[in-house]
Subunit: 410 residues, 2 copies
């Protein structure tokens, strides 16, 4: 088998953890596999470098992005070299390669470059020599030979892209979480680990899934049909062995058609409602454009178009943005002739996700009924093909997750 293993920053946080990862990767190779290891910077290193950069470049006129890329990409280069040394020191032939040496070619959009193609010649020739190949995640190189980076969490995406380019049998993502859970174990004591899931389900769990793997990497895996394994890193797992995690593949393969597989939640969001928005083409964008300009990230949006000429628009945002968002929304409301702007400062979004919803009616209804029985008022509802999300008062979050987990899972 050809296996790509990706280790995040906490998995390689110090020399001790790097050694543990090396031992595990070497064992994988000894079992007869070809192994490619994709590494992040040691945790804290990217921030340390960025801080140095920002101390120096407080107000550059030229965009600092090209140089910030050159600066922070040294984090992954160091880890890759250290990993190669760790493997060599236990007798495992290994070689580190940067994105520039391989030619992981991206556009020139520094700090958030998009991958164009990956040359596999050097990787394959090193694998054929019996080497474990260690590759710097997060990095790319543009056509001019300048280093780029593909944005935070990019090492997951690098790993999946490399797995796709090499037609690898599997891409294993090692983090400090041992897989995808049916709900947050800190919130719901009945939460269980999910053995297998699909790209689509994982994408819909968003917040919950993002703790395990970067969502853009999942999209890429889905596109190229790269099987993912989400596991806890051998450098974090007690004893250095690895427990089975969550396997993520296309829906058709090995997929039990469970109705609901996860109950996920967010906490500490805020909600804003603009009442009586006139029903006119393009008018809603006049509420959201000022928020976008102010870099305020809007999560869920619900517009309830009533039969008359006015409707209510509600949306959720991160709590720290509430004050600024209220100001902007009130200005917008006046300009477009809408009514009152109301807010709720402490709401939680609860979602149930499951491939099985496709073929089953009544899932949403059962969800609403379950919450009603607990006396929990639903403030917003949004649904997709395999997901139902509701916004409720944050103080009911735990109760809601527990009740839904009990009703749908166990």
């Amino acid at each position: 088998m050809l296996i790509v293993q990706k280790y995040g920053g906490t998995s390689v946080a110090d020399t001790d953890r790097i050694k543990k990862v090396a031992r595990f990767a070497a064992d994988t190779a000894k079992q007869g596999n070809k192994v490619v290891v994709v590494v992040s910077a040691m945790s804290g290193e990217t921030d340390r470098l960025l801080k140095l950069g920002h101390v120096i470049a407080s107000e550059t006129k030229q965009s600092p992005d090209r140089e910030l890329d050159a600066l922070i990409s040294t984090g992954e280069t160091s880890t890759a070299a250290l990993m190669a040394l760790a493997l060599q020191s236990i007798g495992q032939p290994a070689v580190s390669l940067t994105a520039s040496q391989i030619r992981i070619v991206t556009d020139s959009c520094h700090q958030r470059a998009k991958m164009k193609y990956i040359e596999t010649g050097r990787i394959n020739s090193e694998l054929n020599k019996g080497n474990i190949v260690i590759i710097t995640g997060f990095q790319g190189v543009d056509e001019e030979g300048d280093l780029t980076t593909i944005g935070r969490g990019g090492s997951d995406t690098s790993a999946v892209a490399i797995a796709a380019a090499l037609h690898a049998d599997c891409c294993e993502i090692y983090s400090d979480v041992d897989g995808l859970y049916s709900a947050d174990p800190n919130v719901c004591k009945n939460a269980v680990k999910i053995d297998s899931s699909s790209y689509e389900e994982l994408l819909e769990t968003a917040g919950a899934g993002a703790k395990v793997v970067h969502m853009h990497a999942v999209e890429l895996a889905a596109k190229h049909d790269v099987p993912l394994q989400l596991k806890r890193s051998p450098s974090i797992e007690a004893g250095g062995s690895v427990r089975s995690g969550t396997k993520v593949t296309r829906e058709e393969i090995n997929m039990e058609q469970v109705l609901v597989s996860t109950v996920s939640h967010t906490s500490s969001e805020a909600k804003i409602s603009v009442r009586d928005v006139p029903h006119k083409v393009g008018i809603v964008s006049r509420i959201f454009q000022p928020l976008a300009k102010a870099n305020i990230n809007v999560d869920m949006i619900v517009q309830n178009v009533a039969s008359n000429l006015k409707s209510d628009v509600s949306f959720t945002i991160a709590k720290p943005d509430l004050k600024k968002a209220m100001q902007l929304s009130e200005i917008a409301a006046r300009e477009i002739g809408a009514g009152k702007v109301e807010m709720a400062g402490d709401v939680s979004k609860i979602s149930i996700v499951g491939i099985g919803m496709r073929s089953h009616a009544g899932v949403a209804a059962k969800m609403f009924e379950t919450l009603a029985k607990e006396g929990i008022d639903i403030q917003m509802i949004s649904t997709s093909e395999i997901k139902v999300s509701v916004v409720i008062d944050a103080k009911f979050m735990q109760k809601a997750v527990d009740a839904l987990h009990h009703a749908f899972i166990s």
Copy 2:
């Protein structure tokens, strides 16, 4: 003018110093010069990275050198990016380039690679766009695209090689010393800074010169006729301005034919003498081969071939090597049928250097006479065309330097 400026580790030790260097380089550009800046790693960074590497790779079977190069070269890459950011933030267009981007091509001898050629296309095109070009010192890249390093002190050599390749008008080496002195100012209160010197003189001052610039860089400058300026860094000099340092050129240009320009000294050396070595071809090498194998660096060697069939061989070494060197020399002496092996544990080498010696007789005689007047016994003598060195008891070092400086310089 096209000027190459090289800044060592202490000159770029922190963000504050990097900013000061940036201001100075930007001023140089504003005066109408094209400027290339060659940087070392921030001081301490290379050692920090090497330590990480050695913690991990205590006993690798594969040579760790390729990965150590990949690891430590990140030090220069970070500094170069930070310097570019610092220049941009004061409105000076700048771009950082690694050895791999430029193609500073070396052989594949990791950790001590030899430069083969430097491609100048990208450097020139960036200079023509009005950029200051910041280049990582110390780094190279082999024909396979793997990173190499050219050994400690290599940034000086990088700077001179780049200056030669670009046909630069001058290569300025900035360190924490403001030039070459006629003697160590800490030892001799009359020591004065030398305004201009020659490659040859600088090479002969060895120890004294090495504090200012790496000797291999001087050899390269001599070969390609690159004028050097040795100055104290604007980031270390109080006030951030730079005083005139020492200009180093070929002998013919601007060279006052002073008799003796510098009195240099070493301290803490040890001396070993092997008595009554049989006079036979190849026999001396049997003393020095075991020392070389044990990695003991021999500095000065004097063999006094007497008229009979035996001679004495004396040599100096670093003091910490004395015990081991004595053991090896005693074994060798027995094997080759030599006599007693004697040692002196605390000697100092005093040298006078000057281009003027070429055309003046009696310089050595005046040196010996000066030392005799002070009651200083000479234990070894070695001379070259423009240098006379003597080994004396280390307790007379200061007295000897003072007396010789007074006799020859001021």
